[in-house]
């Protein structure tokens, strides 16, 4: 392997059970349960997953949940808004730390 992130890893995700079947089974069972229709629809969950995928910058998840969003009935405008929500939170998270900077500046300067 001469690069990080390999597209073929995604369909091979299940191979992670090789080192510990029990934990893999528990994880995938939980994972599949999470995305079932519940108080939130599968479409809403896919939009949340897309936003989180962009936040954690996981290319596997971005591909997977782009398709999932389309298949559960979202369109490009709705998906773009979800990504902007992630962006706003991520950017806001950086910016709100600026208040810590501000306090420190005030402490250290005249």
């Amino acid at each position: 392997m001469d690069h990080y992130y390999d597209r073929s890893h995604l369909p091979r995700f299940g191979e992670i059970a090789e080192g510990n079947q029990e934990l893999a089974d528990a994880f995938f069972s939980y994972y599949n349960k999470v995305f079932e229709e519940g108080a939130l629809t599968a479409r809403e969950k896919a939009l949340i997953a897309l936003a989180v995928a962009n936040t954690v910058q996981c290319p596997y998840c971005i591909d997977t949940y782009t398709t999932a969003c389309l298949e559960t009935g979202s369109d490009l405008e709705q998906m773009t808004e979800a990504v902007h929500v992630a962006t706003a939170i991520r950017g806001g998270a950086a910016l709100v730390h600026g208040v810590q900077m501000l306090d420190q500046v005030k402490r250290l300067t005249m």
Binding site: E37, E71, G73, D75
Partner: protein, 363 residues
């Protein structure tokens, strides 16, 4: 024959394969493109639909009970949608059912025992015999479905149809790929969404979409791209909320259909190098619980020139029913009951995910 200059202008996303005289216009070419794909997935991993059915306990796909006669009145349409499996369009003026064939269809319906007549096209309303056929079926007490592209209802020669349908209890089954604009116009042509919403309002005004079983308004959604359709019941609730909130439009039922890899949808898959990806997506989503409910098991499909098929997709691929005389003038219910249904790789579209049929999801 209907001439082009009598046709109302409608939104266009493309032109027909037939008009462009490209090799893909020929069904044989479409089947060869699918057969050439190196597939993976499905119960036998063979990419052979018959073997996958056999491995699920269906060694021979046979009809169940004939419930629906689906008549394709012709390939003429005021629209030229990007995904059309019929390759319909304003230029398809020659392929339209004549009165003699319509009358033969009525005789076949009478002897079939089917209680549902499903009218499709093209835009079936453009056929000069459309209202005659609907009237005859209504008088027979049959449930009549009109597969409507919506935009046709805004054109002058056909603007009376919402009330005309309402008076006769015709069920209107309308194409709308999404409850929002962006996907609708991408698939069906710029301006389609706006016109579709206007047409839905006209249908609402005529009493459709209010829960009246005699004025039933059904929406049909195909995915706008190389992915499967979503959960029908979940989407129906969301669509109802969204269309009511955004446009004050009501409807009764949503059907979600998969696109079958053929005709203009296949052309788009080829142009975007996604034929293999999509076919394998269908194979990987193969769902054995859809087989019993496949529409080929309860439907007789008739083409504009009277030939008989197992479904409208086989019809467009010119795969006539596997019987000695597959023509409406020779229709015999006993022969239909015993015949073997013809399949090929496009059939994976109907068995994928929750399944797909003209009546929506299966499983």
């Amino acid at each position: 024959m209907i001439t082009l200059d009598t046709l109302p202008q409608g939104p266009r996303a493309t032109s027909s394969l037939s008009f462009r005289a490209v090799p893909l216009a020929h069904p044989g070419k479409q089947l060869r493109v699918l057969d050439a794909v190196d597939t993976s997935g499905g119960p036998t991993n063979s990419g052979q639909f018959e073997l996958d059915l056999a491995s699920c306990g269906w060694p021979r796909l046979k009809p169940d009970r004939l419930e629906i006669v689906q008549i394709n009145l012709g390939k003429l349409c005021n629209m030229t949608c990007r995904h059309c499996h019929v390759d319909a369009g304003p230029d398809r003026v020659d392929e339209n059912m004549d009165r003699t064939t319509v009358e033969a269809c009525l005789r076949a319906i009478d002897s079939s025992g089917a209680r549902v007549v499903d009218l499709t096209g093209g835009a079936p309303e453009l056929n000069p015999n459309f209202e005659f056929l609907v009237e005859e079926c209504v008088q027979r007490g049959l449930r009549v479905l009109d597969r409507c592209n919506l935009t046709i209802l805004l054109t002058r020669p056909y603007s009376h149809l919402p009330e005309w349908f309402a008076e006769r209890g015709v069920e209107v089954v309308c194409s709308l790929p999404h409850y929002r604009k962006i996907g609708t116009d991408a698939q069906r042509g710029d301006g389609t969404y706006h016109k579709s919403i206007q047409a839905l309002k006209r249908l609402n005004q005529a009493g459709y979409g209010q829960g009246d079983p005699h004025r039933k308004l059904v929406l049909v959604a195909n995915p706008v791209g190389a992915f499967l359709s979503g959960n029908q019941s979940s989407l129906e609730a969301e669509w109802k909320t969204a269309l009511a909130r955004n446009h004050n439009v009501r409807f009764d039922q949503l059907l979600t259909l998969n696109n079958l890899p053929m005709s203009r949808y296949l052309e788009w898959l080829m142009e975007t190098n996604q034929v293999k990806l999509y076919l394998n997506r269908l194979l990987q989503a193969f769902n054995p619980s859809t087989i019993a409910g496949l529409m080929c098991r309860n439907t007789l499909s008739i083409s504009w020139d009277g030939y008989l098929y197992d479904c409208d997709f086989n019809q467009q691929l010119e795969m006539t029913m596997d019987i000695p005389r597959p023509h409406v003038t020779d229709f015999d219910l006993g022969i239909w009951q015993d015949h073997a249904i013809r399949t090929a790789r496009h059939c994976y579209g109907c068995t994928a995910g929750a399944g797909s049929s003209c009546g929506g999801a299966i499983a």
